[in-house]
């Protein structure tokens, strides 16, 4: 069942998705995290962030819109309060890093990368770049390159995962920019921009006006992005992909792996049902046994065209 994300070995391909599983402690009360392949934390920013005004989430048909605003305790409290708990996890931990400027990303990345228990960093490049008028870092290939290069230089030894945004014309371009700038692994992808309107009040439902859509509603969209990034960028350069977007079951996870994902992230499904995490691990194992496939890694990109 094991797979490799660069130098990091996961006991199985199933990981948590950033932002949906807290800092591990919250979820550990409901599910044994030791059975997962890896854990990805909520985004950490340099300063604490209160987050957006409520309402912060809205269920939509087969989906979940969110506009949380990266509410988090900030780097200092993360290091002090959350890391000791993450150190007790027996599985590889990736810390998701966010920022408003390149300098903020670099500062957080530099300090987090020094923690021995951290297997790697995941850069959330969907954040607005305040120095560029709030356009998201991840939508513009030169900005992706600048950010990834800066973090790469600051943390030359760290496993660097770059979480791409799906809100671009061609994700292959931003994927290539990230890899050329030094990304070791790509996460494909993040939430799709969306909104909901209260027609009685004629107001946006979300306090943040628009938000990101996750859940099974986006699964076919995310699956296509994994397929495209794998074929256009990742396969030839041997860059592993963490595929995510609406995965609810082992069958969904296998689809992502066939499309080219080495590992999969489960987010929204775990919010609704923590037990789906071990169930997906078990389901992949059963699929491999049933089909007589010796290793989970054999599924990666095995789509027949």
């Amino acid at each position: 069942m094991s797979v490799r994300l660069g130098p990091v070995r996961l006991a199985n391909p199933v990981m948590t998705a950033s932002g949906t599983c807290g800092y591990a402690l919250e979820l550990a009360e409901f599910v044994d995290l030791a059975g997962l392949g890896g854990f990805v934390t909520k985004s950490i920013t340099l300063e604490p962030q209160e987050g957006n005004p409520p309402q912060r989430t809205q269920e939509t048909p087969c989906g979940l819109l969110n506009s949380i605003g990266l509410a988090n305790v900030g780097l200092d409290r993360f290091l002090e309060e959350k890391v000791p708990l993450l150190e007790r996890l027996s599985i590889p931990v990736f810390v998701n890093v966010a920022g408003k400027t390149v300098e903020q990303y670099v500062e957080v990345a530099r300090r987090v990368s020094r923690i021995p228990a951290v297997a790697g960093l995941e850069l959330n490049i969907s954040c607005p770049n305040v120095k560029e008028g709030g356009i998201a870092f991840g939508v513009h290939p030169p900005m992706v390159a600048e950010l990834v290069q800066a973090v790469r230089r600051a943390c030359p030894q760290t496993v660097l995962v770059v979480k791409l945004t799906p809100n671009v014309t061609d994700i292959a371009e931003t994927a290539a920019a990230a890899v050329d700038a030094g990304a070791d692994v790509l996460t494909v992808a993040n939430t799709f921009l969306g909104m909901a309107i209260d027609i009685d009040g004629r107001r946006p439902v979300l306090g943040g006006i628009s938000g990101g859509l996750s859940g099974p509603a986006i699964k076919p969209l995310a699956l296509y992005l994994v397929h495209r990034v794998y074929r256009q960028v990742a396969r030839d350069r041997r860059i592993p992909i963490i595929g995510l977007g609406g995965i609810m079951s082992a069958a969904d996870a296998v689809e992502f792996m066939l499309a080219g994902a080495t590992a999969v992230g489960i987010g929204t499904a775990a919010l609704a049902d923590p037990a789906c995490l071990p169930r997906v691990v078990e389901g992949i194992r059963n699929y491999l046994l049933e089909k007589g496939i010796p290793a989970a890694a054999d599924l990666v990109g095995a789509l027949q065209l």
Binding site: F30, G51, P54, R56, A71, A270
Partner: protein, 336 residues
């Protein structure tokens, strides 16, 4: 002083459990009750549940990966924790009258958790179609629950509005079992058909609309009288439940200490908080917020708060209803 060490402010154990539906009743057009039987670790966790705590009930088949709607669980307050199963006669009109409650087999450590809810959308609609003995997946008990001070010459005023009434039933039960005698409940609804509880209106007609009587079965069974208030005046006090509380308090000698416990819509809670402030009464409010996970993962269900003791310089910040609430000291909530 708290009721027992097991019910201190520590969060009790919780988890994801599979229960079985042991009772499913409908009353009125849109109101339903569900009683879920839990065994083993689930029973142990829920035996320690506190009034004000809630569960997240799954409203779809979690084992079918293609079944994705409704995606999220629905939070429901615990309306009661029972050591005995529901009376089958209550769920089955054809059962002979006087049927005894489900008897506990020796060694059976089951606990029955009661919920009352209004059918409002696809999630509660799915719940309303469950039949006896079907499985139900729940996370809980969640949240902090009410702190329960006890003592002599202490009055508890329980105020429930709309779908905020069920946790008050659980609270009345726990307070009365703890030996508190001075408990008065106030139940508010828009109109008489909307009370989220079993009305016993034929029992008596009050001389005064503010006289606490056995008008709601769920309060009745723990010996707590209640005052009904309807916005349209169709039964009981005509006006808001908070106005009823205010008039009631005005006509009563003040005990050494009065504790207000409230759950309901935000406007009602704000009015309760203001009343508590005017009369200098302790007040705990059980808040509602749009919730996704219910266990502190998603950071959705925030309410703005400030510390109760600090001055105006204390900047408001957010707290999570699901894990830092849902019960808050009313003075800490930023109501505007």
């Amino acid at each position: 002083m708290t009721i027992s060490p097991g019910q201190s402010q520590e969060t009790p154990r919780r988890g994801q459990f599979q229960g079985r539906i042991a009772g499913a009743d409908r009353f009125g057009d849109k109101l339903r009750s569900l009683t879920v039987a839990l065994t083993g670790a689930g029973a142990a966790a829920f035996r320690q549940a506190r009034p004000g705590q809630f569960v997240q009930l799954s409203c779809r088949d979690l084992h079918d990966g293609r079944c994705a709607s409704p995606l999220l669980r629905r939070p429901l307050s615990i309306a009661g924790i029972h050591q005995e199963g529901p009376n089958p006669a209550a769920s089955d009109p054809s059962a002979p009258t006087g049927t005894k409650p489900t008897q506990r087999a020796p060694g059976d450590e089951s606990v029955w958790v009661e919920f009352l809810f209004r059918v409002q959308g696809p999630g509660t609609g799915w719940l309303s179609r469950r039949a006896l003995d079907e499985p139900l997946d729940l996370l809980g008990p969640l949240g902090n629950g009410f702190r329960l001070p006890t003592g002599r010459d202490r009055r508890a005023i329980l105020i429930g509005g709309g779908v905020g009434l069920p946790p008050m039933f659980f609270l009345a039960d726990v307070l009365s079992r703890a030996g508190q005698t001075d408990i008065v409940a106030f139940a508010g609804a828009r109109t008489v058909s909307q009370f989220v509880g079993t009305l016993c209106l034929d029992r008596c007609e009050p001389a005064s609309t503010l006289m606490p009587l056995g008008l709601l079965e769920q309060f009745n069974r723990c010996g707590v009288g209640c005052v009904l208030a309807t916005d349209d005046g169709s039964r009981g006090f005509a006006g808001s439940v908070v106005e009823a509380v205010e008039e009631f308090l005005a006509g009563q000698p003040k005990p050494a200490r009065t504790d207000l416990y409230a759950c309901g819509p935000k406007g009602m809670l704000r009015a309760v908080a203001r009343l508590a402030e005017r009369r200098d009464l302790a007040c705990q409010v059980c808040m509602e917020a749009y919730m996704a996970c219910g266990i502190g993962l998603c950071q959705s269900c925030v309410v703005p708060v400030r510390s109760a003791d600090a001055g105006a310089a204390d900047a408001p910040h957010y707290k999570l209803v699901c894990s830092q609430g849902p019960v808050f000291d009313a003075r800490t909530i930023c109501w505007d």
